[in-house]
């Protein structure tokens, strides 16, 4: 009996600290972009269909702090308004493509289809494309914030 207790203590010392650190880091914000608005170019340069733009900014990745690409967004004009969609498919996180011929977004992985306004039209995606908070300055410069959302749920939750 005593051996079991002592053995259990030894196992605790060996097992709990590694597991605690491994599980603990899962709760950290290890990958993060800047909080502010990031530039996307000029409104004038916007063409007919949505335009794909790379978002870059000061990013944290664990111990690293670097200027890096955060991801891509689609900048679209919708009824006179500028809208910015994350290119990440809300289904399982693939990157969607703009299909100019069909005027729709297609996800190459599992076939989700979204309209030019981002609304889900078909396929497994549980919700429409995720829209990012965007603004246009008086000089016509478009900018947006970089947010990521939980995949696979009908409700939109910021990660």
């Amino acid at each position: 009996m005593g051996s079991w207790v002592l053995g259990a203590f030894a196992a605790l010392v060996g097992v709990v600290p590694p597991l605690r650190a491994i599980a603990g880091s899962a709760a950290l914000d290890t990958v993060a972009g800047p909080d502010g608005y990031l530039p996307l170019g000029l409104l004038d340069a916007l063409g007919e269909g949505p335009r794909e733009v790379d978002l870059a900014g000061r990013a944290r990745d664990g111990w690293l702090a670097q200027d890096a690409d955060l991801g891509a967004v689609f900048v679209a004009r919708d009824a006179g308004r500028v809208r910015v969609f994350s290119s990440i498919c809300p289904h399982l996180g693939c990157a969607v493509d703009w299909d100019p011929a069909g005027r729709r977004f297609l996800c190459p992985c599992h076939g989700s289809i979204f309209g030019a306004d981002g609304r889900v039209l078909g396929g497994p995606s549980p919700r429409s494309l995720d829209e990012l908070p965007a603004r246009v300055s008086t000089a016509g410069e478009i900018s947006c914030r970089w947010l990521r959302f939980a995949p696979g749920t009908p409700k939109r939750e910021v990660l």
């Binding site: 005593g2 051996s3 002592l6 053995g7 203590f9 030894a10 010392v13 060996g14 097992v15 600290p17 590694p18 597991l19 605690r20 650190a21 491994i22 603990g24 880091s25 709760a27 950290l28 944290r60 664990g62 111990w63 690293l64 702090a65 670097q66």
Partner: protein
């Protein structure tokens, strides 16, 4: 139900017979704590494997990522510092347990025929533990690990004939860098664990073949105890005690000095268990290194390997094995003596103490800077980009010769610890010609002591002067809360020599913005200029000696001294 399940499992695994074979071992003369050290070593090796696996989840083996990933683990990951602390202290306790195991083996004569294989595999296992320690020491890529490894691979490189090739093999190329880290990492987490596992299996198999070496007092044919449960609980108790010790030593984490800096100044020290070898090298006269690196250690190893043949006593009682035991005792005591001497010398060597304190302090500052993230260029780039850190490096090389860190008696310029703080200024006002201030400078005797003003006035004046750096403008623009100090400045007659208006010449240094960025910068650029000490300054004009950015960095550092 449970019984049927166990029966079914046994029919498929045969685990009962296996367990019986493992646990039902006869222990001659009954179980004893003295038989436990081997089990403690085994358990500690397993603990190192467990904590090391945890560390591998976070460690990034590269010259830019290694230090940064561990600083991150220490600072940001819950329980990360503890995890690193356990792995670090586990290594130390393992070495101690290994030492006790050796004492047990020596005392009981367990290396003797027919247990030569157990002995030799044990020696090799101890060598593996050393290799674990050497490869693991480098992995944090901090100053200590970097410089100690540089010395270690340098020793390898100095060996006759094979040296240079061996050094390149160990370093993975022509110097310490990424390939050294990946090499040490692969050895530390893949090769050595696998080799240790195989060799430990051989060691245990050979051990079980002949059983534990009984204490010499146990007569032949005495009734034997059983490993399970008599010996096992004793082993478990000592294992638990060893783990508790690992916990106690490692609960505050492991040291992490500043990041490896090939241009830094550090007196490398190995981990404590390599101190005997380190001290042996330090003791040998110049030119005698080979004795410390090859000849003496080689002779000791040869003696240990040949020990089963040298000890030919008819039985294992220590009384009949005086000579081999005496030789082993001399070796052990020499090791402990060298270990003690090494630490004793360091503890009484001001240079070593200062070096250690500086390294700790540098590590603390580097970790604080790294909290905001380390750039892809690595932690050293982070330090170089920080004006205060950069200024400190330049100051240490260009300014410290006169402004410290030697004793005030030797310094040629004023001491700058906490310079421009009210306390520092008050000291200056009281006794300008103290060696801390102008005592060893050309300005000696040029300023009168203000000690006669009395403590209250002095404090008011010092506080006023300490504020000038943040109110760098004409006297009329000074905020109302400084008016009392301003009045004291006039009352004390300071204005006779010291102008307060920017750009206005006066007999003594102009004090507009005193202790602020502009004032310090002007002083560094032209210390003997009309607005500064006007010829009464032996300090070189750095305006032409240092690039602009370097001077700005020195100013940032001097400003940081007052904070």
């Amino acid at each position: 139900m449970a019984g049927r399940f166990r029966d079914a499992l046994d029919a498929r695994l045969g685990h009962r017979a296996l367990l019986r074979a493992v646990l039902d071992e006869p222990v001659p003369g009954g179980a004893r704590f003295a038989y436990a050290p081997g089990s403690v070593v085994t358990a500690l090796l397993l603990l190192q494997a467990a904590t090391g696996t945890g560390l591998a989840f976070f460690y990034s083996p590269s010259s830019t990522g290694a230090w940064a990933s561990l600083a991150y683990l220490d600072r940001s990951v819950p329980g990360g510092a503890l995890l690193r602390g356990l792995h670090h202290s586990g290594a130390s306790v393992l070495v101690v347990a290994l030492g006790l195991h050796f004492v047990q083996v020596a005392l009981f004569g367990a290396y003797r025929r027919p247990r030569e294989l157990t002995w030799w595999s044990g020696l090799l296992l101890a060598a593996f533990v050393s290799a674990f320690a050497l490869t693991g020491y480098l992995l944090p890529w901090d100053q200590r690990g970097y410089w100690a490894t540089r010395v270690a691979t340098g020793i390898a490189g100095s060996l006759p004939l094979v040296g240079p090739a061996l050094q390149r093999l160990l370093e993975g190329g022509s110097g310490l860098g990424n390939l050294t880290i990946t090499r040490c990492y692969a050895l530390h987490v893949l090769v050595l664990p696998a080799a240790t596992l195989l060799l430990a299996a051989l060691h245990l198999r050979a051990f079980r073949r002949n059983g534990v070496t009984p204490v010499w007092t146990v007569p032949e044919g005495a009734p034997a105890g059983r490993f399970w449960p008599d010996q096992l609980w004793r082993d478990a108790l000592l294992v638990a005690a060893a783990f508790a010790l690992v916990m106690a030593l490692g609960r505050h984490g492991a040291p992490l000095q500043g990041p490896a800096d090939p241009s830094g100044h550090i007196e490398p020290r190995p981990e404590w268990y390599f101190r005997p070898l380190f001290e042996l090298l330090r003791l040998l006269p110049p030119g005698g290194e080979l004795a410390g690196t090859v000849l003496i250690p080689g002779a000791v190893i040869a003696f240990l390997v040949l020990l089963p043949f040298l000890d030919r006593a008819p039985d294992a009682s220590p009384g009949r094995r005086l000579r081999p035991l005496a030789a082993l005792a001399v070796l052990g005591l020499a090791g402990i003596g060298l270990l003690g001497r090494s630490f004793w010398k360091d503890a009484h060597d001001p240079a070593a103490i200062a070096s250690e304190a500086r390294a700790d302090e540098e590590g603390r500052r580097a970790r604080a800077l790294a909290a905001a993230g380390v750039p892809p260029e690595g932690p050293l780039a982070l330090l170089h980009a920080d004006p205060v850190e950069r200024g400190r490096r330049i100051f240490d090389r260009r300014c410290a010769g006169c402004h410290g860190p030697a004793s005030p008696e030797q310094a040629k310029g004023p001491r700058l610890e906490r310079v421009f703080t009210p306390a520092w200024i008050e000291g200056l006002l009281r006794e300008p010609d103290d060696p801390t201030y102008y005592g060893h400078t050309k300005a000696r005797g040029s300023m009168d002591s203000c000690a006669g003003l009395g403590a209250a006035k002095l404090r008011l004046l010092s506080d006023f002067l300490a504020q000038l750096g943040t109110h760098d403008g004409p006297p009329a623009a000074l905020p109302p809360e400084l008016s009392a100090g301003r009045a004291a400045f006039s009352d004390a007659g300071c204005e006779a020599c010291h102008a307060l208006t920017p750009g206005e010449a006066s007999a003594g240094p102009n004090l507009a913005g005193y202790g602020g960025v502009r004032w310090i910068r002007a002083l560094i650029d032209d210390p003997g200029g009309p607005l500064a000490y006007d010829g009464l300054n032996g300090m070189p004009s750095f305006g032409t000696k240092l690039p602009d950015a370097d001077r700005a960095a020195v100013v940032a550092y001097v400003v940081s001294l007052s904070q």
